[in-house]
Point group: C2
Chain length 194, copies 2
């Protein structure tokens, strides 16, 4: 097991409905040392990629994407989930269904922050059915920019997002792929990688 | 002018309704080097405070709070704006009005992540009328924990939040205090500090 799988095995909690709670270290309370290590690991896995921007989606993506942008020495852009009065009209928009909240959000990125010259590394905390990721890819391609890769902390390997992205040819790196969870025993089965 | 005031003067945009847009470096696109410097500056201003946790509110607070938590070597907890199915029922709740979005949100923090032993540094990007900050303070005090200080990137000095917090005796540090903005000329007047 790698460092993230070890932490998930130790502190992750399996809940009904294939929910994996990692809120004690990843997406409510955040362990900054762990996140910094995630940043270094994504830097290693996407080394050689000419990344100019890191893109994620609010809110829980920001804590994963911050150390990645830091490692690459590039700006971080986070997509916003609804139209705020503080956003200019000139935005890229994608529609994203939320598995967690059971609704559909508009996701927006100001056109000022993505250009055809950009090479974008997309980062998020979870990949399940891939709706959020597809929205972010749509926005990058709408801007005429290049998707250099997709970096995910935890992929739910039993949902279709990961296999879809790999079939489409994207360079997807998931630090932990959960192939099965057992609510009764709390056990988590990770896919062997490398 | 300090480093943040200089950046606001250079890249901030004054809009109608006393809106100051800093979305090119602080709360949509994020300049990680600037944010790391903000982290070091808060570390300096709150040195000697026995901080055990940094608390902020999603989403734009996270990028400011990350480098602060990193500097103090403590976990970051971010309050969430609505009840997600992924949050346990056992939460601290405060109601917060949003100046930006014109609505009222419930703000929640899981009781697991704040205890009476905690000494909390509260961080946010903006302070205007202080509603978000009051909600976070309420949650810390509801947990029986201690508020060690309030660290704000940009305070709108012409709104009541800052003066209220100082009158209440909190140790408030705002890196930039905007006393006036002129939409016509785009000029921004900062309060002299130190």
């Amino acid at each position: 097991m790698n460092f993230l799988e070890e932490r998930i095995a130790k502190d992750g909690v399996v809940k009904a409905g294939n929910v994996l709670k990692v809120d004690s270290f990843l997406n409510h309370q955040m362990d900054i040392e762990l996140l910094d290590e995630i940043g270094r690991e994504f830097r290693r896995r996407f080394s050689g990629r000419p990344v100019t921007k890191v893109l994620t989606i609010e809110s829980s993506g920001i804590g994963i994407a911050y150390p990645v942008a830091r490692e690459f020495g590039v700006p971080l852009v986070f997509a916003k989930k609804s139209k705020s009065i503080n956003i200019d009209g000139d935005v890229h928009v994608a529609e994203v269904a939320s598995f967690t909240h059971g609704n559909v959000n508009k996701v927006i990125v100001s056109k000022k922050f993505l250009s055809p010259d950009d090479h974008v590394l997309i980062i998020d905390d979870f990949l399940a059915n891939g709706c959020a990721l597809r929205g972010l890819i749509y926005i990058v391609e709408d801007a005429g920019a290049t998707v250099e890769g997709l970096g995910i902390a935890i992929e739910k390997g039993f949902q279709i997002g990961g296999s879809t992205m790999r079939e489409l040819g994207y360079h997807l790196e998931s630090l932990a792929i959960v192939d099965a969870m057992d609510e009764e025993t709390g056990s988590i089965t990770f896919r062997e990688q490398e």
